[in-house]
C-alpha cells in the first residue's frame, strides 16, 4: 500500500517538476526506465510469492540501474553503446514479461 502511494507520489513529483535531463544522462534514460519497470514487476511478483524483501528490492533496483548504466557507458566508449543498450533492454524486457506472466498466474490463477 505504501509502495503504491510512493509510486504515485514519485510520478506526480516528476510530472510537476519536470526536471530537464542533462545531455550526458540522456542515453541512460531508457535503461533506467526498463530497470525501474523490472524492479516494480519483480517486487510485485515477490510480494505475491510471499518472499518480498525490502532490502533485496532496493538493492536490486539500484544495482540493476548501475550495472546497466555501466555496460552502456563502456559500450559508448567502445563504439557499441546502442547495441549494448539494446541488449540490456532485451534482457530486462524478458524478465519483465516473465514476471508479468507470474503475476498473471497469481492473480487470475491461469
Amino acid at each position: 500500500m505504501i509502495a503504491a502511494f510512493a509510486l504515485i507520489a514519485g510520478v506526480v513529483t516528476g510530472l510537476i517538476f519536470r526536471p530537464t535531463v542533462p545531455n550526458w544522462l540522456e542515453p541512460y534514460l531508457p535503461i533506467a526506465v526498463v530497470a525501474a519497470l523490472d524492479a516494480v514487476f519483480g517486487g510485485l511478483r515477490a510480494r505475491l510469492d510471499g518472499v518480498f524483501d525490502a532490502k533485496v528490492f532496493v538493492i536490486s533496483f539500484v544495482s540493476n540501474v548501475l550495472v546497466a548504466a555501466l555496460i552502456v557507458y563502456l559500450g559508448d566508449k567502445l563504439g557499441v553503446g546502442s547495441q549494448l543498450s539494446t541488449a540490456v533492454v532485451v534482457v530486462l524486457g524478458i524478465r519483465i514479461f516473465g514476471n508479468a506472466a507470474a503475476i498473471r498466474r497469481h492473480v487470475f490463477r491461469a
Partner: protein, 296 residues
Amino acid sequence: MVEGTSTHEVREPAVAKLLVDLVMDPRDPGYEAAALRRGDAPSNRWWDAPAVALGCLVVGFTLAVAYAHTNRSAPEAAKVHAALVNRVRSAEKDGTSLAKSAQSLSNKLNAVRNAALSDSSVLARSLGTAQLEAGAVAVKGPGLTVTLKDPAAATSVAPNGSRANSINADHVITDRDVRSVVNELWADGAEAIAVNGIRLTPTSAIRFAGDAVLVDFQPISSPYTIDALGNADNLATGFAESDVASRYATLQSAKNIGFSFDEHSKLSLPASPTVALRYAHVRTEPPSNHSSGAHK
C-alpha cells in the same frame, strides 16, 4: 569433427539453461535467498517500509521524468524549426530592404552623374547605353509580356494538405522553358527583359534547383511572367511566328499549361541589383577626370 560436436554438446546446455532460466524463472534469486535466510519469521526491521517507499518513489520519478522528457523533445524540435524559419524570414527581409536601399542609392548616383555629364555628350550617351545593356538602370517603354503557368490542377493542394511532390505532376514548367522564351525574345529584338520582376543582365542565369526556378539565384514560382521591352509590334510578330511560341501553344492544348502573350504600350522594368564586378577593381585614384573604368 567428432571433437567439435562433443564440445558443442557440452556447451549448448549451459547457454540454453541461461536463456531458459531467464525466460522461465525471471524472479531475482535474491528474494529466495533472503527468504531462506529469514526463515518463516516476518521481517521486523524498522526501515523496511521507508526503503520500499523510497524505492517506489524513485521508480515513479524515473518513469515520469522519462515521459516528460520524451514528450518535451518533440515541441522543442518544433521550436527550433520555428526559430530557424524566423531567422530565414528576417534575413530575407533584411536582404530586401538592403536591395531597396542599394537601388535608391544607385538611382541617386545616376541622377548626380547625369547632372554632372552634359546630356548631349558622347560619354553620357555611351554610358546610358552600357547601363541599359547591363541592366543597371530601371527602364520603361512598350513591350511584350509572355506568361507561362503550371497546369492549374497539378498545383492544387492535395486532400491531405501536402502538395504532391512529383516533378512530372507538379512542375511542368522548368528553367528550360523560361530560358527558351527569354532567348526567343532576345532574338526578336528585346532591349531589356525581366522575369517575374527580376531584371536580366548579361550575366544572369536561369536555373532549376529542387522544385524552383532560380533567376540569379532567386527562386520564383508559377506563373512566370516575362516582360520584354522593345518595339512591341516587332516583338509580338517575331515571337508569334517563332518555334518557341508554337511549341507552347501546342503544350497549352495538350498539357493544359497556361501560355499567353500580350503587347503593352507601357512596361517598366526594375534595375538589377546584382550588377557587381567580381574580378575587376575600380581604381580609387582617377588617372584622368572622365575615367570610372575598371582595370584588371
